[in-house]
Amino acid sequence: MMTSLRASLLVVATLAVPALAGAADIVAGQAKVKEVCQACHGIDGNSPSPDYPKLGGQYPDYIQKALRDYKSGARKNPIMAGFAGTLTQKDIENVAAYYASQPAVLAPRY
């Protein structure tokens, strides 16, 4: 009984730690955006070029998924593979949180 309780606590703790560590840093995200993303997607994610998607107010988990897929090659795009390849997992979380925090230029459409 005690062992299984201890085991459960351990599982909870193991799950909780990455969740805490996952808190994104929007300020660090903005710094990374200025360095890597701004030229095409704009500082606020309202990309002026029709070829590059608008990102302002997009869901952060979707932006993360896109960046991870570019990095892994699951999503094939030579330009984005180059940029995403330079980002760490933490950078990806920060950049996604930053663009998601910008004024929304996108909306679900019915």
Binding site: P50, P53, G57, Q58, R75, L106, A107, P108, R109
Partner: protein
């Protein structure tokens, strides 16, 4: 090499023709999908709105994350994304199946519709 002077116009014609063919092929390769029709795009959204029309909707397979907001996105990017699903450069299973059922004209129409900004009754919001 000896060139007959009287054949020069013909040679020039061939060179011009060849260059034009190369140029038009290059243009054709870059030409995006046909012009999109917003109303026809809206008719096609029945297969999209179950996910992209619901604020906060998440896809559950192969991993859980929010489906992207599309209202107000650049049309050219939506066209590109749908073609990438169709040809396999992007791998989401539902999106691949749906994109495979779309013609180039359907894709252009959907892109025209979704690029129209936020939902009908509201401006873009978080």
């Amino acid at each position: 090499m000896f060139i007959h002077l009287e054949r020069l116009p013909m040679i020039r014609y061939r060179v011009v023709l060849t260059l034009s063919l190369i140029f038009s092929a290059a243009v054709a390769a870059q030409t995006p999908a046909p012009a999109g029709d917003v109303a026809k795009g809206e008719e096609k959204t029945r297969m999209c709105e179950g996910c992209h029309g619901i604020e906060g909707w998440r896809t559950a397979y192969p991993e859980v994350y929010h489906v992207p907001k599309l209202g107000g996105q650049h049309a050219a990017y939506i066209v590109q994304a749908l073609h990438e699903y169709k040809n396999g450069d992007r791998s989401h299973p539902s999106m691949r199946a749906i994109a495979a059922s779309l013609t180039d004209q359907d894709i252009a129409n959907l892109a025209a519709y979704y690029s129209q900004g936020g939902p009908k009754t509201q401006t873009a919001k978080k």
